[in-house]
């Protein structure tokens, strides 16, 4: 039979750490188990031996040595213990004063420079006519509506808007080369294709 489950309780019993009811249960087990009885006897003997050793007083000079060292320590001038807190306090006060002086004497922030007024001129929207003569804006894409339900082919047909570039305030010296942009709208509203090409039809 394994008595491992009893060992801790036997150890507590040996030191008198069990309540009366619990101790009685362990005592009943001890009456039936020689191994645990031997364990309890060993534990009691060792605890008694340890207590006897501990009860032996140390030599008086060991206590006196400690007292002497403590009193000598206390008799030392307390300069270090007193000076350092004052030093820290003084350093903090000086630092705080410096920060305060810097903040108080700091000139006001310079006024913001006068910035030239920039007037943005909205670009002129040029309009062009498609083959049917409908006006198509560069900003608003219109879908031509015909009478009757449009066919699938018609729905898939890309709507083309021809956009002319906005007039430049200062035309470049180089030869004008109008660039055309075609906005291709697909069935997917999230997909828009821009096609840039020069007048001669070369892609850029």
């Amino acid at each position: 039979m394994s008595c491992a489950i009893w060992e801790e309780r036997v150890a507590l019993l040996a030191g008198g750490d069990l309540e009366t009811g619990e101790a009685a249960g362990v005592e009943r087990h001890l009456n039936q188990c020689a191994a645990c009885t031997a364990l309890a006897a060993d534990l009691r003997r060792e605890l008694d031996g340890l207590r006897q050793v501990h009860a032996e007083p140390l030599a008086a000079e060991h206590y006196a040595a400690v007292r002497g060292r403590v009193l000598a320590e206390l008799a030392k001038p307390q300069r270090r213990r007193l000076v350092w807190p004052w030093a820290w306090a003084a350093a903090l006060a000086i630092a705080a004063a410096v920060v305060l002086v810097v903040v108080m004497t700091k000139p006001n922030a310079p006024p913001a420079p006068d910035l030239p007024q920039l007037v943005a001129v909205a670009p002129t929207v040029q309009r062009s006519r498609d083959r049917q003569g409908a006006v198509i804006s560069t900003h608003v894409r219109r879908r031509r509506v015909r009478a009757g339900a449009p066919s699938v082919k018609e729905q898939r047909r890309l709507e083309v808007a021809e956009v002319l570039p906005p007039p430049q305030p200062a035309p470049p010296a180089v030869e004008a080369s109008p660039v055309r942009m075609v906005q291709l709208a697909t069935d997917d509203p999230n997909v828009v294709i821009y096609w840039l090409f020069e007048e001669k039809g070369e892609e850029r």
């Binding site: 150890a11 060792e46 060991h62 040595a65 007292r67 060292r69 403590v70």
Partner: protein, 193 residues
């Protein structure tokens, strides 16, 4: 069983905390503080000796404990002084051990058998040394619990208060410590045979 209250009474601490010596020491009277140290030196040095395992470290720890006592006199209550001293002693010894681990490794224990013979094994001095060595085989917490409970005679509740643990934890530590101690002694005895 000795309790902390009984220990305080033995040491001259009145439960009301109106200990004239304590009050005088608190007022800065060095002679009164010396008397206060004399009252508690066995508690402090004796406990530290069992926790540290050697006298030199125990004296260092005791010095630190009394210096802390002096610095904290204004905040302390004489009625709780014994518990405070136990707690600080345990903490100081624990800190010292962490800073400077024990120089005696666990494997040194069988060296006690070096010059012995079977008859000497019954020698009281050797048994005494063996028991003290077995204390060093314990973990910090187990040793503290066992020293306070079995050697200093505090109740389980008082040990729990000093160590800041629950009573269940202290009971577990005490029982494990006793079993480890017994195993160590038994192993040692087998090696001798």
């Amino acid at each position: 069983m000795k309790t902390l209250a009984l220990a305080a009474a033995e040491l001259g601490d009145e439960p009301e905390g109106r200990d004239a010596t304590f009050e005088a020491a608190r007022a800065g009277d060095r002679a009164a503080f010396d008397l206060l140290m004399r009252r508690h030196e066995r508690l402090v040095l004796g406990t530290a000796y069992r926790l540290a395992g050697n006298l030199e470290d125990a004296q260092d720890a005791s010095q630190e404990v009394f210096l802390r006592l002096y610095r904290n006199l204004a905040k302390l209550d004489a009625a709780n002084l014994a518990a405070w001293l136990y707690r600080v002693t345990v903490n100081v010894c624990h800190d010292a051990r962490r800073r400077r681990p024990s120089t005696v490794p666990v494997d040194d224990a069988p060296e006690l058998t070096a010059a012995g013979d079977p008859q000497q094994s019954a020698d009281q001095a050797e048994q005494r040394a063996l028991l003290l060595r077995s204390l060093r085989m314990l973990s910090e917490k187990e040793r503290a619990a066992l020293v306070l409970r079995d050697l200093e005679g505090l109740s389980t509740a008082e040990v729990a208060g000093v160590l800041g643990s629950s009573m269940g934890t202290v009971r577990s530590q005490i029982s494990k410590a006793r079993l480890k101690m017994r195993d160590f002694v038994e192993r040692y005895s087998r090696r001798r045979l």
